[in-house]
Amino acid sequence: MYVMERILKRKAPVGAAAHRGNAVEAGIAKGLFDDAPLEDCVSEARKVFSGLAALSGDPRKEKEITAIPAMVKAGLQELKPYGKPSSAQGKIEWKVEGLFVPVIGFYDFEWADHGILVDLKTTHKLPSKISTNHARQVALYNAARGNNLDTRVCYTTPSKTAVYRLENSDEHVKALEKIAFAIQRFLSVTNDPQELASIVMPDVDSFYFADPLARKNAYEVFGI
């Protein structure tokens, strides 16, 4: 997917689930920052979703828009007790010696007075722990901020919410660094995008290729 979308610029539209995540976050942000009533927060979330998914042909669009109000409600119930965040969508830049470009990211919410940083994840199934990819993501935020944050991931479903505290932050950052250097080494093989594409093969059963256009692109690029 990385080769196809980032190197060959053959991008496919993101699914409705991704739009749902952004929409719920917008709704929750409205509740946290403006202390807006729930109906206004839901309205904001729906508005954002409609805008993002207006041209989406994803068949899961209806399912996602239906889930938005409950997700906003559940997320606000969990995060309102934290108070008003000091910032949101803050840019994080993590520079690693030997890495030609910095690793960047954007955290969701920070409560600077408490030293707490929370990343919001929406899902239909509540996980029992932070996923590895999410751990790496928020560990990056922690590292870039001096490793002195209480870094958390908030998983919100239509019916439940759980906030988990990140563990082993250093280890996850190390993993991220290894991945970044692996990508750098891969990119250094050649300046020819087609040559890079010729030395990898995608798992087209992966959900990343669920979108028909992504699948079509994969077939055209990789021949499988």
Binding site: G15, A17, A18, R20, G21, N22, E25, G31, L32, F33, D34, D35, E78, L79, K80, P81, Y82, G83, K84, D108, W111, D113, H114, I116, D119, L120, K121, T122, T123, H124, K125, S128, K129, I130, S131, T132, N133, H134, A135, D150, R152, V153, A162, V163, Y164, R165, L166, E167, N168, E171, H172, A175, F207, A210
Partner: protein, 220 residues
Amino acid sequence: MGLGLNYRRSGGGDFLPVCKYDARAGRAFRVDREDGQNNPVDITRNFKAVFDMENIEVGWIAFPKGAAPDFQLVPLGEEFPEEGPTPNHKQGTRFVIKLSAECGGDCREMASTAGAFLDGFNALHDDYIAGSAKNPGKLPVVVLDDTIAVESGGGNNKSTNYQPQFKIVSWVPRPKDLKPSPRGKAAPSRPSAPPSTGSQRVEAPQKAPAMAAADDEDFG
């Protein structure tokens, strides 16, 4: 044994002058560097030093002839690789001491892979552990009380080494110039499992500030 040594590894750098224990001779030397030459000064008879037992390193060490030693070390208590990086690396230890004034008075590192030395140092470490509870925050002043001949092998391979008999004679606060100075760091043994990510549920902070109040479904 108290140092947990059965293997070996550790790093490099620019470092302290050296104090050496020659297990084959049972002698302790302060190695002075003059005009690019090493000049060993025998301090066996009056050896006395403050040992920084709080910052012992263990792991793998190689002492190649004609070249700088290579250290692949971790702080005592941490895991280190079960195998050395090369066959020349042997399990050993490194630590820093501050020599008494009559021995030179400066801070030096000691490192060894010799079994006889490690046995003697291990016994010292046991004594240190036993005495440290009654001397919190202090470091032991150690003398070389004796050396004991230890024979190993047989026939033509028979050899004799001398195990140092270190003795703690007093405890003192850490000298100001005896600072932790790790020599090198080995890549620790790779854990058998990936690090946990976090499964502890947490609540909102108790005192909230004034409030204006990987599957396809995981998206922020």
